[in-house]
């Protein structure tokens, strides 16, 4: 019998050939071009207009950053591709062997199921990276237009998309392995995606536990990276979930093991994964990779806040759907959490929209408790919150002497992008696909 290493290399070659032979992957590869092109062209056009194309942008142009204006919108095409095309490619790769009967032959090799699954996943990731070529073209065009790309934030967003794809691949692989038919696996995968959307919606309405759970949905994880925030707890949780999905797929790939035993092992894997994700929530390390420090307070403020060692508890009487709560959470508390390890934030409300709580005199109050000293404020701006905390801690606010950051406006039109993404890419890839398929025969 062939050594496991030699057999694994053969398996890897086989999986690659199977991927290249699959129509689903070529369709994803071809469609990636027009989808990325559409996003890129719309983004560059809007960015150019906001920068002054066809008029004067005034002060707006100074607030334009390529991260929000071009990079994230362009790469958002990959969120769509990952949700609606990648699962079918992954299911084809994982379930194809069972459909054709090849698994009955291949399973007679004593290779570990994890080894088998790793070959499939590596090939899928390679296929996904190739499908990323239109994004590389878009970035190259943006540079040709003299646009700015800040490598750390671009890398963070790309890494987020890679993790997102990994989650989708793991989910689809598990579904494909656990079900008898690929169509059932596809329905399960899409049902999971829709389920996470429902969870995000409920989290936005109800807050509380739902909100904490929703942080680990693929779309919410990706959103964090799209803000150029590299959070270690999310990376670890995503890797744990990816590993869990792939191990589940590997467990159910073993057709020769009794279903009962496979079910028990699956439950154990889910429990372990849940425990790891829970443990990850205590990891606080993160890195603001954005060029304009959008996820951080100014450096003087952070240096001052670090001096506050006592536990700080903030109780905000605001409903989940109150826009003030949204601003408070995203503009201030998320930044505070990164710098104050002993911060506890509690939201108090009896309704989800808060509309009929306005009559309550306490609605809108934000209570601060720092080592037993308490104060109340209704200010929701970042500056106001910091001022209240400094006052409570008896610390002099720092002097703001940092130079103001200016964006990178670029008044251009997406010249050449449309023919490249809408014509040249699909024709070229379809031609290559046709040639490769013919050559393999």
């Amino acid at each position: 019998m062939r050594s496991p290493d030699g057999a694994w290399r053969w398996l890897l070659r086989k999986e690659w050939r199977e991927l290249v032979a699959s129509t689903s992957w070529w369709v994803m590869f071809i469609l990636a071009g027009p989808l990325v092109g559409l996003s890129f062209i719309s983004a560059v056009r809007a960015y150019g207009e906001a920068s002054g194309v066809g008029g004067t942008a005034g002060g707006l142009a100074d607030a334009l950053w390529p991260l929000d204006g071009v990079l994230v919108p362009t790469l958002s095409a990959y969120e769509i591709i990952a949700l609606f095309l990648l699962p079918f490619v992954a299911i084809r790769v994982v379930a194809g062997d069972r459909q054709s009967g090849a698994s009955k032959l291949e399973l007679q090799h004593p290779m570990s199921p994890i080894g088998r699954m790793s070959a499939k996943v590596l090939v899928l990731l390679a296929g996904w990276c190739l499908a990323g070529l239109p994004a590389v073209l878009a970035c190259a065009l943006w540079k040709i237009y003299h646009g700015s790309i800040y490598a750390p934030e671009a890398g963070t967003v790309v890494f987020g998309h890679l993790l997102h794809a990994g989650l989708i691949i793991a989910l689809a692989a598990a579904a494909a392995s656990m079900t008898e038919h690929p169509s059932t696996a596809a329905i399960l995968t899409l049902a999971f995606t829709v389920g996470t959307w429902v969870l995000n919606f409920v989290a936005a309405v109800q807050g509380g536990l739902w909100e904490r759970l929703a942080r680990y949905t693929p779309s919410e994880m990706l959103a964090t990276f799209q803000h150029a925030l590299f959070r270690l707890n999310l990376v670890l949780a995503a890797l744990a979930l990816i590993a869990a999905g792939l191990v589940l797929a590997a467990i159910w790939m073993r057709l020769g093991v009794a279903v009962g035993r496979r079910a028990v092992e699956s439950v154990a894997i889910v429990v372990v994964a849940a425990a790891i994700v829970f443990a990850c929530s205590f990891v606080r390390a993160d890195w603001d990779a954005s060029e304009n420090r959008r996820n951080s307070f100014s450096e003087p403020d952070e240096e001052t806040l670090v001096k506050i060692k006592a536990p700080l508890t903030i109780e905000a009487h605001l409903a989940p759907e109150d826009p003030r709560r949204f601003d408070l959470e995203h503009q201030t508390f998320s930044k505070l959490r990164r710098i104050l390890p002993n911060l506890t934030v509690r939201y108090v409300s009896s309704t989800s929209i808060g509309l009929f709580e306005q009559a309550n005199a306490h609605y809108g109050e934000i209570w601060y408790d720092l080592a037993g000293r308490r104060t109340m404020s209704r200010i929701t701006s970042g500056e106001g919150v910091l001022e209240t905390i400094y006052g409570l801690a008896g610390i002099q606010p720092p002097k703001e002497d940092e130079p103001e950051l200016h964006g990178h406006p670029l008044a251009v039109r997406p010249v050449g992008a449309a023919p490249l993404f809408y014509v040249i890419w699909p024709v070229a890839i379809a031609g290559i696909g046709f040639y490769v398929k013919r050559r393999k025969r």
Binding site: M1, S100, K104, P110, R441
Partner: protein, 238 residues
Amino acid sequence: MLLEVKGISKRFGANRVLRDVSFSVNDAEILGLIGPNGAGKTTLFECLAGVLPADQGCVFSNTHQVEANQRSSVLFFVPDGIAPWPDQPVQWALQFSLGFWGGRRHLYRDVLNDLGLEPFLHMPIGTLSKGQRKRVLLAIGLLSPQPVLAIDEPFDGLDLRQSREAVVALRNHVSHGRTLFVSIHQIGDAARICDRFILLSDGRVAGEGTLEELAALAGKRLGQAPPSDFEEVFLALT
């Protein structure tokens, strides 16, 4: 004795497909698993190969028990009715089989010739006819490295000439020391190729031995002289 199978049982819900199946496989023989449709032949093969979990029973090789996940060290199973890697050409599938399982590379040319695979080496497996696909599966099996080769319905889909050629190829293979365990539902084909037989009926072993031994057993059961025709033997014992 190369393999000893003891007490294999398998049920699908309330349907008991295999009931305490026990038999032995000798070195360098062609053992035929004979039984009507639905007797449990395929299920028995899948349980033996470890691609389907048996409810009970065990397999011994040279007195050592071989767990289901280790069966591939002694036995390779070629299922019936599959079209593995349908997008890949035959030549690549055979090379993959040799590379993946570390098979009998020195037999490659002989197997191609014996089974007449040359004309469609470059055709994708998914485009082959049932008989052509069967010959590819036989080739994959013959090139595998394990001492025992189990083939489910080796002649299903083959015409008369192809069946005879396949019989010659299989016989030739056994003469080189390989052991074959084949399931066949056509009694005539079985009598032509097999050295010994296991008669499987309704999930039970109804008889095991050479044609003469089974004929004697049938005669004893019928209370008359042993039947000379294998079909009569089969009907008497199942």
